[in-house]
Symmetry: C2
DNA sequence: GTCGCTGCAAATGATTTGCAGCCGA
DNA sequence: TCGGCTGCAAATCATTTGCAGCGAC
Protein backbone atom coordinates (compact mmCIF):
# COMPACT_ATOMS: atom_id res chain seq x y z
CA UNK A 1 0.00 0.00 0.00
CA UNK A 2 2.64 2.45 1.06
CA UNK A 3 4.67 1.62 -2.01
CA UNK A 4 1.64 2.41 -4.11
CA UNK A 5 0.95 5.76 -2.47
CA UNK A 6 4.62 6.66 -2.63
CA UNK A 7 4.90 6.05 -6.33
CA UNK A 8 1.58 7.67 -7.09
CA UNK A 9 2.65 10.82 -5.28
CA UNK A 10 6.01 10.84 -7.01
CA UNK A 11 4.50 10.16 -10.43
CA UNK A 12 2.27 13.19 -10.14
CA UNK A 13 5.12 15.40 -8.99
CA UNK A 14 4.16 15.52 -5.32
CA UNK A 15 6.79 15.05 -2.66
CA UNK A 16 6.61 12.06 -0.38
CA UNK A 17 6.57 13.19 3.23
CA UNK A 18 6.02 11.33 6.50
CA UNK A 19 2.89 13.38 7.14
CA UNK A 20 1.32 12.41 3.83
CA UNK A 21 2.03 8.74 4.35
CA UNK A 22 0.74 8.89 7.92
CA UNK A 23 -2.51 10.54 6.86
CA UNK A 24 -3.10 8.05 4.08
CA UNK A 25 -2.25 5.12 6.33
CA UNK A 26 -4.58 6.38 9.04
CA UNK A 27 -7.38 6.48 6.49
CA UNK A 28 -6.52 3.14 4.94
CA UNK A 29 -6.37 1.41 8.33
CA UNK A 30 -9.92 2.17 9.36
CA UNK A 31 -13.48 1.89 8.11
CA UNK A 32 -14.68 4.51 10.57
CA UNK A 33 -14.73 7.25 7.90
CA UNK A 34 -12.98 9.82 10.06
CA UNK A 35 -13.28 13.57 9.66
CA UNK A 36 -10.21 15.77 9.29
CA UNK A 37 -10.28 16.47 12.99
CA UNK A 38 -10.46 12.78 13.89
CA UNK A 39 -7.43 12.09 11.71
CA UNK A 40 -5.62 14.99 13.29
CA UNK A 41 -6.39 13.79 16.81
CA UNK A 42 -5.23 10.30 15.96
CA UNK A 43 -1.91 11.46 14.52
CA UNK A 44 -1.24 14.17 17.09
CA UNK A 45 0.48 11.82 19.58
CA UNK A 46 2.74 10.37 16.89
CA UNK A 47 3.40 13.62 15.01
CA UNK A 48 3.17 16.31 17.69
CA UNK A 49 3.80 19.09 15.21
CA UNK A 50 1.14 17.91 12.78
CA UNK A 51 -1.34 20.64 11.95
CA UNK A 52 -4.94 20.50 10.81
CA UNK A 53 -3.99 22.53 7.76
CA UNK A 54 -1.66 19.76 6.66
CA UNK A 55 -4.43 17.22 7.06
CA UNK A 56 -6.70 19.26 4.82
CA UNK A 57 -4.01 19.94 2.23
CA UNK A 58 -3.02 16.28 2.12
CA UNK A 59 -6.59 15.07 1.76
CA UNK A 60 -6.99 17.47 -1.16
CA UNK A 61 -4.04 15.81 -2.87
CA UNK A 62 -5.21 12.28 -2.04
CA UNK A 63 -8.58 13.16 -3.55
CA UNK A 64 -6.88 14.32 -6.76
CA UNK A 65 -4.98 11.05 -6.90
CA UNK A 66 -8.27 9.22 -6.39
CA UNK A 67 -6.93 7.63 -3.22
CA UNK A 68 -9.75 8.88 -1.00
CA UNK A 69 -13.36 9.87 -1.50
CA UNK A 70 -15.22 12.57 0.34
CA UNK A 71 -18.43 11.78 2.21
CA UNK A 72 -21.09 14.31 3.01
CA UNK A 73 -23.39 12.53 5.41
CA UNK A 74 -25.18 15.66 6.53
CA UNK A 75 -22.98 16.60 9.45
CA UNK A 76 -21.21 19.90 9.87
CA UNK A 77 -17.94 18.39 8.69
CA UNK A 78 -16.89 16.09 5.87
CA UNK A 79 -15.72 12.52 6.31
CA UNK A 80 -13.14 10.67 4.26
CA UNK A 81 -12.91 7.13 2.96
CA UNK A 82 -9.79 5.42 1.58
CA UNK A 83 -12.07 2.87 -0.05
CA UNK A 84 -12.71 4.68 -3.32
CA UNK A 85 -15.11 2.12 -4.72
CA UNK A 86 -18.55 3.58 -5.19
CA UNK A 87 -20.44 1.97 -2.32
CA UNK A 88 -23.34 3.20 -0.20
CA UNK A 89 -22.89 4.41 3.37
CA UNK A 90 -25.11 4.32 6.40
CA UNK A 91 -25.02 6.68 9.35
CA UNK A 92 -26.32 5.89 12.81
CA UNK A 93 -28.65 8.68 13.86
CA UNK A 94 -28.02 7.75 17.48
CA UNK A 95 -24.23 7.59 17.87
CA UNK A 96 -23.18 9.14 14.57
CA UNK A 97 -20.97 6.31 13.34
CA UNK A 98 -20.75 5.83 9.59
CA UNK A 99 -20.43 2.35 8.07
CA UNK A 100 -19.99 0.92 4.62
CA UNK A 101 -22.77 -1.10 3.05
CA UNK A 102 -21.18 -4.08 1.38
CA UNK A 103 -22.58 -6.35 -1.27
CA UNK A 104 -25.22 -3.94 -2.47
CA UNK A 105 -25.73 -4.13 -6.19
CA UNK A 106 -26.91 -0.76 -7.39
CA UNK A 107 -26.19 -1.16 -11.10
CA UNK A 108 -29.81 -1.76 -12.03
CA UNK A 109 -30.96 1.17 -9.97
CA UNK A 110 -28.35 3.51 -11.44
CA UNK A 111 -29.01 2.44 -15.01
CA UNK A 112 -32.73 2.91 -14.49
CA UNK A 113 -32.11 6.45 -13.29
CA UNK A 114 -29.75 7.10 -16.20
CA UNK A 115 -32.36 6.08 -18.72
CA UNK A 116 -35.10 8.16 -17.10
CA UNK A 117 -33.31 11.49 -16.97
CA UNK A 118 -31.94 13.91 -19.51
CA UNK A 119 -28.79 14.26 -17.46
CA UNK A 120 -25.64 12.36 -18.37
CA UNK A 121 -25.07 10.58 -15.08
CA UNK A 122 -21.42 10.39 -14.08
CA UNK A 123 -21.57 9.39 -10.45
CA UNK A 124 -23.77 9.01 -7.40
CA UNK A 125 -23.77 8.83 -3.63
CA UNK A 126 -26.23 6.82 -1.60
CA UNK A 127 -26.62 7.65 2.06
CA UNK A 128 -28.81 5.67 4.42
CA UNK A 129 -29.82 6.74 7.91
CA UNK A 130 -30.84 4.48 10.75
CA UNK A 131 -29.87 2.92 14.05
CA UNK A 132 -26.78 0.74 14.33
CA UNK A 133 -26.91 -2.66 16.08
CA UNK A 134 -25.08 -1.34 19.14
CA UNK A 135 -27.52 1.51 19.67
CA UNK A 136 -30.45 -0.86 19.08
CA UNK A 137 -29.17 -3.10 21.87
CA UNK A 138 -28.57 -0.24 24.25
CA UNK A 139 -32.00 1.12 23.56
CA UNK A 140 -33.56 -2.31 24.12
CA UNK A 141 -31.64 -2.78 27.38
CA UNK A 142 -33.02 0.47 28.77
CA UNK A 143 -36.66 -0.48 28.25
CA UNK B 1 -51.01 26.12 0.73
CA UNK B 2 -50.71 29.27 2.77
CA UNK B 3 -53.67 28.24 4.83
CA UNK B 4 -51.96 24.98 5.55
CA UNK B 5 -48.67 26.57 6.61
CA UNK B 6 -50.52 29.12 8.68
CA UNK B 7 -52.47 26.55 10.65
CA UNK B 8 -49.47 24.25 11.02
CA UNK B 9 -47.44 27.07 12.49
CA UNK B 10 -50.23 28.09 14.81
CA UNK B 11 -50.94 24.52 15.89
CA UNK B 12 -47.36 24.06 17.01
CA UNK B 13 -47.34 27.35 18.88
CA UNK B 14 -45.32 29.33 16.35
CA UNK B 15 -46.39 32.80 15.36
CA UNK B 16 -47.43 33.47 11.80
CA UNK B 17 -45.36 36.30 10.36
CA UNK B 18 -45.07 37.71 6.84
CA UNK B 19 -41.41 36.65 6.72
CA UNK B 20 -42.22 33.03 7.50
CA UNK B 21 -44.92 32.87 4.88
CA UNK B 22 -42.70 34.56 2.32
CA UNK B 23 -39.86 32.11 2.93
CA UNK B 24 -42.10 29.10 2.69
CA UNK B 25 -43.79 30.44 -0.44
CA UNK B 26 -40.45 31.14 -2.07
CA UNK B 27 -39.47 27.53 -1.47
CA UNK B 28 -42.80 26.11 -2.54
CA UNK B 29 -42.82 28.12 -5.77
CA UNK B 30 -39.60 26.71 -7.18
CA UNK B 31 -37.91 23.43 -7.92
CA UNK B 32 -34.48 25.05 -8.03
CA UNK B 33 -33.62 23.87 -4.49
CA UNK B 34 -32.28 27.23 -3.39
CA UNK B 35 -29.76 27.78 -0.63
CA UNK B 36 -30.44 30.13 2.27
CA UNK B 37 -28.59 32.89 0.46
CA UNK B 38 -30.59 32.39 -2.73
CA UNK B 39 -33.84 32.67 -0.77
CA UNK B 40 -32.52 35.75 0.96
CA UNK B 41 -31.55 37.39 -2.33
CA UNK B 42 -34.93 36.61 -3.83
CA UNK B 43 -36.86 38.11 -0.93
CA UNK B 44 -34.58 41.10 -0.38
CA UNK B 45 -36.36 43.34 -2.94
CA UNK B 46 -39.77 42.53 -1.44
CA UNK B 47 -38.73 42.54 2.21
CA UNK B 48 -35.83 45.01 2.35
CA UNK B 49 -35.30 44.44 6.07
CA UNK B 50 -35.22 40.65 5.74
CA UNK B 51 -32.08 39.18 7.28
CA UNK B 52 -30.24 35.96 6.56
CA UNK B 53 -30.61 34.99 10.21
CA UNK B 54 -34.38 35.03 9.81
CA UNK B 55 -34.10 32.79 6.76
CA UNK B 56 -32.08 30.26 8.73
CA UNK B 57 -34.34 30.42 11.79
CA UNK B 58 -37.45 30.00 9.66
CA UNK B 59 -36.03 27.06 7.74
CA UNK B 60 -35.24 25.40 11.05
CA UNK B 61 -38.90 25.70 12.03
CA UNK B 62 -40.16 24.55 8.63
CA UNK B 63 -37.92 21.52 8.93
CA UNK B 64 -39.42 20.69 12.34
CA UNK B 65 -42.89 20.97 10.82
CA UNK B 66 -41.75 18.67 8.02
CA UNK B 67 -42.53 21.34 5.45
CA UNK B 68 -39.05 21.37 3.93
CA UNK B 69 -36.21 18.91 3.61
CA UNK B 70 -32.53 19.70 3.68
CA UNK B 71 -30.27 18.67 0.80
CA UNK B 72 -26.57 18.17 1.11
CA UNK B 73 -25.37 17.84 -2.44
CA UNK B 74 -21.70 18.27 -1.60
CA UNK B 75 -21.47 22.01 -1.91
CA UNK B 76 -20.28 24.34 0.80
CA UNK B 77 -23.86 25.30 1.65
CA UNK B 78 -27.10 23.42 2.15
CA UNK B 79 -30.05 23.53 -0.19
CA UNK B 80 -33.73 23.31 0.71
CA UNK B 81 -36.69 21.60 -0.88
CA UNK B 82 -40.36 22.22 -0.09
CA UNK B 83 -41.14 18.88 -1.72
CA UNK B 84 -40.70 16.66 1.32
CA UNK B 85 -41.32 13.39 -0.49
CA UNK B 86 -38.26 11.20 -0.45
CA UNK B 87 -37.04 11.51 -4.03
CA UNK B 88 -33.54 11.41 -5.53
CA UNK B 89 -31.75 14.55 -6.68
CA UNK B 90 -29.24 15.18 -9.42
CA UNK B 91 -26.67 17.95 -9.54
CA UNK B 92 -25.08 19.30 -12.70
CA UNK B 93 -21.33 19.25 -12.24
CA UNK B 94 -21.05 21.96 -14.87
CA UNK B 95 -23.52 24.69 -13.85
CA UNK B 96 -24.39 23.50 -10.35
CA UNK B 97 -28.14 23.31 -10.77
CA UNK B 98 -29.98 20.69 -8.73
CA UNK B 99 -33.02 18.91 -10.13
CA UNK B 100 -35.51 16.37 -8.85
CA UNK B 101 -35.58 12.91 -10.32
CA UNK B 102 -39.19 11.96 -10.80
CA UNK B 103 -40.72 8.57 -11.28
CA UNK B 104 -37.83 6.65 -9.81
CA UNK B 105 -38.98 3.65 -7.85
CA UNK B 106 -36.40 2.94 -5.18
CA UNK B 107 -38.50 0.71 -2.93
CA UNK B 108 -36.84 -2.50 -4.10
CA UNK B 109 -33.40 -1.01 -3.71
CA UNK B 110 -34.12 0.31 -0.24
CA UNK B 111 -35.68 -2.92 0.97
CA UNK B 112 -32.73 -4.88 -0.38
CA UNK B 113 -30.38 -2.67 1.60
CA UNK B 114 -32.56 -2.96 4.70
CA UNK B 115 -32.43 -6.73 4.57
CA UNK B 116 -28.67 -6.85 4.05
CA UNK B 117 -27.61 -4.65 6.96
CA UNK B 118 -27.85 -4.87 10.72
CA UNK B 119 -28.95 -1.26 10.85
CA UNK B 120 -32.59 -0.34 11.22
CA UNK B 121 -32.96 1.85 8.17
CA UNK B 122 -35.12 4.92 8.73
CA UNK B 123 -34.35 7.08 5.74
CA UNK B 124 -32.06 7.65 2.82
CA UNK B 125 -30.80 10.26 0.39
CA UNK B 126 -29.76 9.50 -3.18
CA UNK B 127 -27.62 12.05 -4.97
CA UNK B 128 -26.63 11.73 -8.60
CA UNK B 129 -24.00 13.80 -10.36
CA UNK B 130 -23.79 14.49 -14.08
CA UNK B 131 -24.27 17.02 -16.83
CA UNK B 132 -27.64 18.67 -17.40
CA UNK B 133 -29.14 18.88 -20.91
CA UNK B 134 -28.38 22.59 -21.19
CA UNK B 135 -24.71 22.12 -20.42
CA UNK B 136 -24.54 19.16 -22.78
CA UNK B 137 -25.84 21.35 -25.59
CA UNK B 138 -23.49 24.20 -24.82
CA UNK B 139 -20.59 21.82 -24.69
CA UNK B 140 -21.62 20.26 -28.02
CA UNK B 141 -22.00 23.70 -29.61
CA UNK B 142 -18.47 24.64 -28.70
CA UNK B 143 -16.90 21.65 -30.38
C1' DG C 1 -49.81 43.92 27.37
C1' DT C 2 -47.09 39.79 26.75
C1' DC C 3 -43.91 37.03 24.78
C1' DG C 4 -42.23 35.28 20.78
C1' DC C 5 -40.02 37.21 16.47
C1' DT C 6 -37.04 40.05 13.64
C1' DG C 7 -32.79 41.77 12.31
C1' DC C 8 -28.60 43.64 13.40
C1' DA C 9 -24.01 42.49 14.89
C1' DA C 10 -21.00 39.47 16.92
C1' DA C 11 -19.71 34.52 17.65
C1' DT C 12 -18.79 29.97 16.09
C1' DG C 13 -16.61 26.30 13.70
C1' DA C 14 -15.02 23.89 9.57
C1' DT C 15 -12.03 24.76 6.03
C1' DT C 16 -8.66 27.67 3.43
C1' DT C 17 -4.88 30.74 2.76
C1' DG C 18 -0.37 33.44 3.46
C1' DC C 19 3.98 32.97 4.50
C1' DA C 20 8.62 31.95 6.64
C1' DG C 21 11.54 28.40 7.52
C1' DC C 22 12.34 23.45 6.57
C1' DC C 23 13.37 19.21 4.03
C1' DG C 24 12.79 15.64 0.23
C1' DA C 25 14.71 14.90 -4.27
C1' DT D 1 20.77 23.59 -3.84
C1' DC D 2 15.86 24.58 -4.46
C1' DG D 3 11.10 24.46 -4.97
C1' DG D 4 7.60 22.26 -2.85
C1' DC D 5 5.92 21.28 2.00
C1' DT D 6 4.82 22.08 6.84
C1' DG D 7 2.66 24.42 10.41
C1' DC D 8 1.54 28.47 12.56
C1' DA D 9 -1.67 32.26 12.51
C1' DA D 10 -4.92 34.83 10.25
C1' DA D 11 -8.74 34.85 6.84
C1' DT D 12 -12.96 33.09 4.97
C1' DC D 13 -17.58 31.76 4.79
C1' DA D 14 -21.87 29.34 6.03
C1' DT D 15 -24.46 29.08 9.87
C1' DT D 16 -25.73 30.23 14.73
C1' DT D 17 -26.42 33.12 18.68
C1' DG D 18 -27.34 37.34 21.78
C1' DC D 19 -30.12 40.83 22.39
C1' DA D 20 -33.05 45.12 22.02
C1' DG D 21 -37.00 46.76 20.03
C1' DC D 22 -41.15 45.37 17.51
C1' DG D 23 -45.43 43.17 16.33
C1' DA D 24 -48.74 38.96 16.37
C1' DC D 25 -52.25 37.48 19.17
Amino acid sequence: MDICVTSLLRDKGFKVTPQRLAIYNALAATTAHPSAEMIYNELQPIYPTMSLATVYKTIEILKELNLVQILNVGEDSFRYDANTSNHPHVRCMCCGRVDDLHGIDSIDFVSRVSSQTDYTIQGQQFYFYGICPKCQNESAAKQ
